[in-house]
Symmetry: C2
Subunit: 224 residues, 2 copies
C-alpha cells in the first residue's frame, strides 16, 4: 500500500492538467460551466429536466450526464427537451474525471452555447477530488438526508460554490432543519451560496434560474 499515495498524486496532477485545458477553452468562450455533485437520488436530474423545460428556448445548454452504469439520466434529459446531451458511463469508476469530460468536449461544438452542466456520478466523496475545469461545483442536499451532511462530507462542501437544498416539498414529513444544514455548510465554507427549492412544486425555482442567468452573464462579461 506504500505506493498508493504517489500514484494517486500523479493521477490527480494529470487530471488537473487536463482540467486546466478545459477551463482555458471555456474561459475564451465565456461559457459558464457547472459540476453538479450529490448523493445518489438527491434530485440533480429532476432539477435539470425542469431547467430544460423552463429555459431551453432562451439558453443553449450543453449537458453531460455521468453515471456508473446506464444512460438513464441522459435519456431523461433528452426527453425533457435537451438537444445537446452527452452520457458518460464510468463503468465502475466512482467519479467523472477531466479526461472523460474532455473526450466529450473535443468532439462537441460549443459555439453559441450559454451553459455547460456536468451532472457527476452520485457520490458525496470522490468527485470532490477531481477538478473538471468547471467554474463551480453545485452540491445538492435533499431534505430527506440528514442536516449534518456538510459536517460528514466536508471536502465536497468546502469545494462547492452553491448548495441546493432540494425536495423542499418533503420537508413537513422529514426530521430536517434547513437553518441547521445552512449553518453546518457555512461552518465548512463561509462563502457558500444557498438556494432552497422543490423541482416538484416549483418553489424556489425562480431563484435558481436567476442565479444561473446572473452567472452566465458574469462569465460572458469577463470574456469580453
Amino acid at each position: 500500500m506504500v505506493k498508493k499515495i504517489p500514484v494517486e498524486k500523479k493521477v490527480l496532477s494529470e487530471n488537473d492538467r487536463i482540467a486546466g485545458e478545459i477551463r482555458s477553452r471555456l474561459k475564451d468562450l465565456g461559457l459558464l460551466s457547472l459540476n453538479l455533485v450529490s448523493s445518489p437520488g438527491s434530485g440533480k436530474t429532476t432539477l435539470l429536466e425542469k431547467t430544460l423545460e423552463a429555459l431551453s428556448e432562451k439558453l443553449k445548454m450543453v449537458l453531460i450526464a455521468g453515471d456508473v452504469q446506464t444512460d438513464n439520466d441522459a435519456a431523461r434529459l433528452v426527453k425533457a427537451g435537451g438537444t445537446d446531451v452527452h452520457p458518460i458511463m464510468t463503468r465502475g469508476a466512482c467519479h467523472l474525471d477531466a479526461n472523460m469530460v474532455n473526450k466529450v468536449l473535443v468532439e462537441t461544438s460549443l459555439d453559441g452555447a450559454d451553459l455547460l452542466i456536468i451532472e457527476n456520478v452520485g457520490n458525496l466523496v470522490c468527485p470532490s477530488s477531481y477538478d473538471l475545469g468547471e467554474d463551480g461545483k453545485v452540491v445538492f442536499v435533499s431534505v430527506t438526508e440528514g442536516d449534518d451532511k456538510p459536517l460528514k462530507y466536508p471536502g465536497m462542501f468546502r469545494r462547492s460554490s452553491l448548495m441546493i437544498v432540494s425536495k423542499l416539498d418533503l420537508l413537513p414529513h422529514c426530521q430536517f432543519d434547513v437553518a441547521t444544514v445552512i449553518e453546518n455548510a457555512r461552518t465548512i465554507n463561509n462563502d457558500i451560496e444557498v438556494i432552497q427549492l422543490s423541482s416538484f412544486t416549483g418553489d424556489g425555482m425562480d431563484e435558481w434560474y436567476r442565479w444561473l442567468k446572473q452567472n452566465i452573464q458574469d462569465k460572458k462579461q469577463a470574456a469580453k
Copy 2:
C-alpha cells in the same frame, strides 16, 4: 496513470487477506456480521437506533460506525442504547477497508456477542469493492431516491445479500415504484432478499428483526 490498476490490485489483495482473517475469527465465534451500505442519508443509522431500542436487551451487539468525518453516527447509536459502539473516521477515504475494521476488532472482546454490524461510509460505489470479512452486505435504497438505483450502481447490488427499501412512510409523496426497484435489483442479483420498512412508523421492522434473528441462529448453528 498506467500504474494505477496494478497498485489498486495490490491494495485490494492485501484488503482481502485481512478480510479473510476477520472472517475466519468470526466464523469460529459463530458471530454474524453485516456490512451496511447505501447512499448518504438512506436511513442506516436510524434503523440501527430502532434496532438497538428493540433488541439490545436480548442481543449483544457490537457496532462499528464509519464516516468520512465526525463521529455523529456513533454518538447517536450510544444515545439509543448501544454499549459497544466504535466510530471509525476515514478522514477523506470514501469507504471502510478491512484494515480499519480489523484495528477495531483486535482491541474488542467479541465473547458472547450475537451480532456485529458495520455501518459503512455513505457511498453506493467504492465500498462495494472492499470486503470487510462480513457474512453479507445489506444495501439500503430509500424511496426518496430513484427506483433505477440498482441498474445505475450494479456492483453494490450484485454483492449484497439483502436490500432494504427504507423510508416507506414517504412513499405517498414520492415518484418511486417498489415493484420496479425490486425487479431492477433482481435483474442484477437474482438471489437478493428484500425487506420494505419505515424506521419512523415501524412498518416492516418485525420482518427485519426476524431476518436478523434467523441469520444469527444460522451462523451460530454453523459454528457448532
